[in-house]
């Protein structure tokens, strides 16, 4: 079985302009993502998990090390970081769902235009799937239905939708070019807990139906456990622990993983003795 992504000793160092301080976002990370695997990358903000995802999406090029996509180098040196995908017509195969749909949806575009954008492709570039206008409209309606939005949502603007609906639009856009690898950056952390379940159900169904390879970044091990079969724990840009989700969830080896697990807020499972708590206060209706 060929690996989808082979991340080989990758480091990513950011050198802010006019600053001597370099930020090491990723430090010698190696990871292999196989076909149809569902990986969860967990860690706190600043652990480098989003950077790793952006590298896999081809949005950035690593400072050192190499990332291969199906055996060929993703972002060859000396090229625009987009070209690696673009030239081989692979762009549509890897898609990303962003964390915050308020920022990932252009406020001046209708939902229909947003979802159709990846279908427009680049003119003159070989391999890019550029569909005709009616074909785009048909595909847009199809993916909107797949994420549980009605067809007339296409005419709405993002600000007219709720947070959950906006994230559905973002998922629809990612699915529009029919990718086989889906990257997701904290897809539910900007959403209400009550909406979270809907989006997780949607992602679960879509990944299963389309046989997607999934790389999901989250700080919430509960979300990762639900969607992913493998976990990599990142701390300060290094992978500190990897393994099957159930194993890491049940028997975390690293103290950092244990801390992450303990931090997820949970409802008290058993009722505390009521006399330790204050008596209920009579409320006027």
């Amino acid at each position: 079985m060929t690996a989808v992504f082979t991340v080989d000793h990758v480091s990513q160092v950011f050198q802010p302009r006019r600053s001597a301080l370099a930020v090491v976002a990723l430090d010698d990370v190696s990871l292999t993502v196989g076909k149809a695997e569902r990986w969860g990358i967990v860690g706190e903000s600043g652990s480098g998990k989003t950077t790793l995802l952006r590298l896999l999406a081809g949005l950035e090029r690593p400072t050192s090390g190499a990332i291969a996509f199906e055996g060929a180098e993703l972002t060859p040196a000396g090229r625009d970081s987009q070209r690696g995908f673009q030239d081989r017509g692979l762009r549509s195969r890897v898609q990303l769902v962003f964390q915050d749909p308020r920022s990932s949806l252009d406020p001046r575009m209708t939902v229909g235009a947003i979802v159709a954008e990846p279908l427009r492709g680049r003119r003159r570039r070989a391999g890019a799937s550029s569909l005709s206008r009616p074909d785009r409209a048909a595909r847009t309606a199809e993916v909107l239905a797949a994420v549980g939005l009605s067809a007339d949502a296409a005419r709405r603007y993002p600000h007219e939708l709720s947070g959950g609906q906006r994230q559905r639009v973002a998922i629809a856009r990612a699915l529009a070019p029919n990718p086989d690898i889906l990257l997701a950056d904290e897809p539910v952390s900007a959403l209400d807990v009550s909406v979270r379940a809907q989006i997780l159900n949607l992602l679960t169904d879509l990944v299963a139906q389309m046989g997607l390879t999934l790389v999901l970044v989250s700080h919430d091990l509960g979300v990762v456990r639900h969607l992913c079969d493998r976990v990599a724990v990142l701390q300060h840009g290094r992978i500190v622990e990897t393994g099957p989700t159930e194993q890491i969830y049940a028997r975390p080896r690293q103290p950092y993983t244990q801390e992450l697990l303990a931090a997820v807020p949970r409802l008290p499972a058993v009722l505390p003795p009521s006399d330790e708590r204050k008596p209920p206060r009579p409320l006027q209706k």
Partner: protein
């Protein structure tokens, strides 16, 4: 209530623009016609706003001057934005050595006073409407470069720009589809602010005789012609002065109104 400044400003600007256009086809009198009998007439039925020291009809000259003002101000702002906005957007999206040079160059241009630029150009090219327009455009250019540069920086930090990249959009498509529509409100507000500055600059330049030739009626030249007799016969100086005030006020009000309506931060508060 919210739209009141926009309505008033828009109406004032519309009257100004309409008068300017009308002057091309019709004015009560020939603005250049010298009628010795009408010298210093106060406003009357024959000359609604009176006549100047040479007996030329003030209303006719005012209308013709409006056209000169609209032409110079409009062309200056239009050409400044047509050159400045693409440069600013490019610099914001590119962010490298080349774009730094462009930004520095625009800063240097910004530091030069508009008047100095105009005198320089006039020395080389001679005074004309085209020279005045070029001078004002040059002075306005850096404002548009800066404004579109910083607005672009804010837009390209948004995730939807990365999302468009992932959708296969190239830089041109991103600039056209995402950046320009999202900085358009800032552009509109900036254009109206620059336009009112341009009106003032045109009046200043023509007052100094650095713009249109003496035969062309302009508001600035009308003020200069009128100032000699200001205490004896104030009309010829007051009329163009009021016109400048009204035009600048109208355009400024319109710009404020535009910002109130277009600024999404203010919109959310409603």
């Amino acid at each position: 209530m919210k739209r009141l400044p926009l309505l008033i400003g828009g109406a004032m600007t519309a009257v100004f623009a309409f008068t300017a256009l009308l002057s091309l086809f019709w004015t009560p009198h020939d603005p250049a016609f010298v009628d010795a009998a009408a010298r210093f007439t106060p406003p009357s039925s024959a000359h609604w706003l009176g006549a100047d020291r040479m007996g030329r009809d003030l209303l006719s000259r005012l209308m013709a001057g409006a056209w000169a003002t609209l032409l110079v101000g409009g062309l200056a702002v239009l050409s400044a934005s047509l050159i400045g906005v693409p440069l600013g957007v490019w610099a914001g999206m590119r962010r490298g050595f080349l774009s730094d040079i462009v930004l520095r160059a625009s800063d240097i241009l910004f530091a030069l006073p508009a008047l100095l630029l105009a005198i320089l150009l006039v020395a080389v090219q001679g005074a004309s409407i085209a020279t005045a327009t070029a001078a004002i455009a040059l002075a306005t250019l850096p404002v548009f470069v800066r404004m579109s540069y910083s607005a672009t920086l804010a837009v390209i930090a948004q995730d939807y720009i990365d999302a468009a990249r992932l959708g296969g959009a190239g830089s041109l498509a991103i600039a056209w589809r995402h950046v320009l529509p999202n900085i358009a409100p800032n552009l509109g507000v900036q254009a109206s602010a620059s336009f009112s500055t341009a009106i003032l600059a045109e009046a200043g330049l023509s007052y100094l005789g650095l713009a249109a030739p003496p035969t062309t009626p302009t508001w600035g030249r009308m003020m200069r012609d009128g100032q000699t007799d200001l205490f004896v016969n104030p009309w010829p100086a007051i009329v163009p002065g009021l016109a400048i005030t009204v035009a600048v006020l109208g355009v400024n009000l319109m710009g404020d109104g535009l910002r109130d309506i277009l600024d999404p931060r203010l919109r959310e508060l409603r």
